[in-house]
Symmetry: C2
């Protein structure tokens, strides 16, 4: 059996009882560690679970999945995924490959950022499609998020923005020379996300959002030091110190809001007067 | 401290380690049991947690929350919620009341149907806003879901439909006579949901969807007997036997789909030929 086990969002105690029982009994345990991370190290997980863990990087999962699935028709293999197994990143290709090999699959759900973001105080009902924001470079500034946000905002919906993480990345030089030397991990902050968003709005000029649009920055959702900062996009450009260490996510508000959400989120506002004024003028209309 | 603890989707082993530690230590433990249910009885939870639980019905949570919050500035109170504390139903009002009373609040995330539905094989990124479907009566057939689905479909997005549950409901007669006699619980099935949807489409005639629109019925997501059935809305009208006992949910597909989703979900199709034919004609276009 292949078990896809969700680990939740923050530390070793976020696994479910059901998930932990599977991890303890499985013949082999893999940890998918390239699309998201927990806030604790692998060694903490290993000592808590009482198991050694093989870290599965993108190359392994995408090109060498048969090694992960080896003998899984006879023994139990646990594939651990931060968040929910089918959350922000799906592992449908691994499941399809298992099916082809006649291997049974079960998944153990857990909190995903896509539902965990509800702790910011906005109704999950009113979220539209989710978008991703990658680190811009001089030559590469993918802006497909802009049209998605435009669609969401056209019908009043909030947008969850998932922020890039770079782990096990090689510099162009090391890549060219075939040197397996990896750069230190980088995690996008809300400040970078907000400024990249404003940069694209400036370029496109369609008025999908602007410096005064309301948003919520979220850090370490579900963790002991969970933190939310609410404000305009312009204010959030400077919110990194307030938010603290990774992981960060962001929500851009849609206009379909409820007075209860106003009151709830206001608690996190950088500047309550600004928050109230803009909310009153532009939100809660639908 | 008030702890909002998510219980996950199916049974007593879906609580996280973090959540269980809080439940074991709390002075009082409440279970919110009117917006969703686990697939096991309260007595199973009590014996597994080693704690007695006070079931909090809607009246208690909405009108008597100060009893739940009593002394929570000095002792720990655990308020258990099926799914995620901020998932399909938010408990923002309870948190706001706690803030007013100077009570600190922490929440423990868990799987919600809003992310758990990813196990059906559609990318969670491409879901629009979530809608609810209530049991129609002769005089009451609320159809606000129709316009929401229209909005989602206009931009190619999937729609998660959450199905009504009726627990602790009184008949009109018992209500009128003030008799606290409750009807047996009722849980909407995918079959009822699909036929109510078609009824409203027939009435409105805007062609938002039709008998040949593709959808997925989901039963007991995250549970040992989790089951998905994919087909047209017309086929899903007759899928209740295949899906089995509650809880059910449904997804109406948007047209923005990926070939991998086609292949993944096809496994659940009532009729694979129909599924392939309609998919090829109408989906995967965006």
């Amino acid at each position: 059996m292949l078990y896809l086990v969700g680990l939740g969002l923050s530390d070793e105690t976020d696994i479910t009882i059901k998930g932990l029982e599977i991890v303890k009994k499985a013949s082999r345990v893999y940890l998918e560690a390239y699309t998201s991370i927990l806030l604790v190290d692998q060694s903490v997980l290993e000592s808590y679970y009482g198991r050694s863990i093989v870290v599965a990087d993108r190359e392994m999962v995408e090109s060498n999945s048969d090694e992960i699935l080896r003998d899984a028709d006879k023994v139990d293999v646990a594939f651990l995924v931060v968040g929910d197994p089918f959350g922000a990143t799906t592992h449908t290709d691994l499941v399809i490959r298992a099916r082809e090999l006649g291997i049974a699959v079960k998944s153990v759900p857990n909190a995903s950022i896509m539902s965990g973001i509800g702790a910011a105080g906005l109704q999950l009902y009113n979220f539209g499609q989710t978008v991703s924001m990658v680190f811009f470079t001089d030559n590469w500034r993918p802006a497909s998020f802009y049209d998605r946000i435009k669609e969401n905002r056209s019908i009043g919906l909030h947008t969850l923005v998932l922020l890039d993480i770079k782990v096990k990345e090689q510099s162009l030089e090391n890549l060219a020379r075939g040197r397996k030397i990896f750069e230190p991990p980088r995690y996008m902050t809300v400040g970078t996300c907000a400024s990249q968003m404003l940069e694209i709005e400036e370029e496109k000029g369609e008025g999908v959002y602007g410096p005064d649009s309301l948003a919520i920055g979220a850090a370490r959702v579900g963790g002991k030091t969970e933190k939310f900062v609410a404000g305009t996009l312009k204010e959030l450009c400077d919110s990194d110190d307030a938010l603290g260490p990774p992981l960060h996510s962001m929500v851009l508000l849609g206009t379909r809001t409820h007075e209860l959400e106003h009151e709830y989120v206001r608690e996190f506002a950088v500047n309550k007067e600004t928050w109230d004024r803009i909310w009153k003028a532009d939100y809660g209309k639908q």
